[in-house]
Subunit: 418 residues, 2 copies
């Protein structure tokens, strides 16, 4: 029986197939994401993977709504597997923001879902590192968040030579649109066209823009001029003060597809342009009000960073750590009469926090030793009875082949030192 | 807008409502589960939260199938949110077991789902620590797994006074049933009756047993006698050798509801009997063959431990760690002309792995200090220009109020020591 198309199984390394997904790599991403978020003072939250459909309809933009993994549940409710985390966060904040001091600095690592009919081989789920700041209208918050985004990628070994954050402004595009058109109600359609500009041929984009009373030239000129707004200047200055200036550049090609952005927006790309966006985000000052039905009004901003593109990039840059066994000791049982004592010894080592494995059943000495090597154990440990009848542990360091005999009491410390 | 009934939001502590769920407590469980699993040499895996419906029908038993959170997806596929992890594990193992040396010792921490119409206030999802051993028919594997179960609970602060593992045998019950009835095809119905014996009144159980040609007395006598099989004796001896004998007792009331168990089965309960089972598991030697359509035959065993009952128990025993801010430094900006330098200093500290926060926008000195206290920062740090024009960091240890001035280069080490 197979898994559903578009979903992933995560196996322990070494992987059975080169194109498979690694539970160890996923954990590596999660560990680094979490560590950097904490360094920045962000706190973890989560919500359900399943939400009421209406949390997304008309809030996230047509594109994401068209790709919803939605269905009717057994109670007749219209529900959807979450396609993004921001509406859930807005819901949580709207319910209990008064309990927390502002600004909230929160992060999550949800699995997200979408359902597109036609796509071949495209995934229907991914994990996404989400970090958001709520309750702070100042551009200093945008800079803090972009710094976190940059440091999340740096923590995985990527440098300014590997990626760049392309910084833009939804507000600047909104002003541009207001200046050049008489159809302010069609702003969202306009953003969609700009969002696709780099991917679509001019023959497709130009007529769409003309329908809104604009020319492709006007739009291209605005992008080429790339004149940063005061807000973007302040963000750049802030990041430069941190020594992160090399990681950012103004690029009005970026506008973000989602409907709810209101201010600075950005996307991180690999410098070689080999992959889709690694991460993206921006300010969405009205979403909490929208989700709370007008009850709570909180300025907000955030970014998301998916695991799939990131894993591809890390593989291409050879930044995926090789999995290494982390076994402190493999315990050998060569004399079965010593098995009960060895079990107690194993328990003692594990109680001390050491990682220990052994052959569950009687096996030949060389097979046990081979298994210790396969598991990349640091040591083998074997109980032996000394001439005075006392049990002692014979430890062998597998890298150096150095051996020594220690008392059972001293064994945990001896194994930990090495 | 509200979340769906039966689903949980996870907030950062301190929680907004006493009945709410804590992302910090969830993480505490995950961290401990993972650490103990690794000590035992278990490797992490995962599968999709959504699986083909047929992975569960007729394999897990009527009870779980009746509670499936299933639906038809947009492609017309019958799918279900996973109600348990074992069929997914069997699917993964069936696909790639040949790649791995036996036995496989694997763990996962999936979110699981069920949909029951009538239940009020009952959750429709929970997280479950799953650990399994595949490819080892010997009872030593059952003992190893039960030891892991015990140590997972001990790692959370629970002792032999708090919980006990009630050990039983599906095989013993199967033999009992074969001896006393002429309807071997109704074994599963029989297991269901035994499984409910402690919860259902005798007037309900007795007629059901009689329909199978058995009396309630026979069943009760078998339970009361509690004669351990050779297999259970071996498991007990193994656990006693480890010094874990106090955590286990034979109890044939346990039989487990799922259809696929074949050997030793067990459930962990709190000693006071206040809560539902904390964990449960057993041997299921035929499931991999069933899931693989006969292609792969691997003996297997495993247990699951949910987060909901466990969290209730930990709360009742006051074993939930109080959340404590882990901020190494809160950086004060009292002179705004020093903000760019302070941003660079913050970046330097975070690069060194320290947890640092600060006021994103200009704020009065006492407000910044108050915020540092709220966040339970270990230190405040403030840049100041010395008489020679050099910037230095003034560190204040908030517990002792001790202050000292260090060079910017020395600041990370100074903060880390304290």
């Amino acid at each position: 029986m197979d898994r559903l198309p578009g979903f992933r199984d995560f196996y322990p390394e070494p992987l059975p197939t080169p194109e498979g997904w690694s539970a160890d790599l996923r954990r590596h991403l999660f560990t680094r994401w979490r560590a950097v978020a904490e360094r920045y003072g962000f706190r973890e939250y989560d919500g359900p993977p399943l939400e009421p459909l209406e949390l997304y309809t008309a809030k996230s933009g047509a594109e994401i709504v068209g790709q919803l993994y939605n269905f009717t549940d057994k109670g007749g409710r219209e529900v959807a597997l979450r396609p993004e985390m921001t509406p859930t966060l807005a819901r949580l904040a709207a319910a209990h923001e008064r309990h927390y001091k502002k600004p909230l600095k929160w992060f999550a690592m949800p699995q997200l879902f979408r359902y597109e009919r036609q796509q071949k081989g495209r995934l229907r789920e991914h994990f996404q590192f989400n970090a958001d700041i709520l309750g702070e209208p100042d551009r200093a918050a945008d800079a803090e968040l972009i710094a976190l985004l940059i440091d999340s990628l740096r923590a995985l070994g990527l440098s300014a030579e590997d990626f760049v954050v392309r910084l833009s402004s939804r507000q600047a595009w909104q002003d541009f649109f207001a200046r050049h058109t008489t159809r302010p109600d069609q702003a969202y359609e306009f953003y969609q066209i700009v969002d696709k500009l780099e991917r679509e041929p001019a023959e497709v984009s130009a007529p769409k823009l003309e329908a809104l009373g604009l020319t492709l030239e006007q739009v291209r000129h605005f992008i080429a001029a790339g004149e940063p707004t005061d807000e973007l200047r302040a963000i750049l200055a802030n990041l430069e003060a941190r020594g992160l200036g090399d990681f950012v550049r103004i690029d009005y090609n970026v506008i973000r597809g989602l409907a709810y952005y209101t201010g600075p927006v950005y996307e991180a790309f690999d410098r070689k342009g080999q992959f889709r966006a690694i991460a993206g985000g921006g300010r969405y000052d009205h979403l909490v009000r929208l989700v709370s039905g007008g009850k709570v009004d909180l300025p907000a901003l955030g970014f998301g960073m998916g695991d799939v593109v990131l894993a591809e990039l890390l593989k291409a840059r050879q930044l995926v750590p090789r999995w290494e066994g982390r076994l402190d000791a493999f315990c050998l049982v060569e004399d079965e009469s010593l098995r009960p004592a060895t079990l107690r010894f194993i328990q003692q080592l594990r109680n001390a926090g050491l990682t220990v494995d052994y052959s569950l059943t009687p096996a030949k000495s060389d097979r046990q030793f081979k298994r210790a090597l396969e598991l990349a154990a640091s040591h083998t440990a074997r109980l032996e009875r000394s001439t005075d009848g006392e049990l002692r542990a014979r430890l062998k360091h597998l890298a150096t082949r150095e051996e020594r005999t220690v008392s059972l009491t001293d064994a945990p410390a001896a194994l930990r030192q090495a």
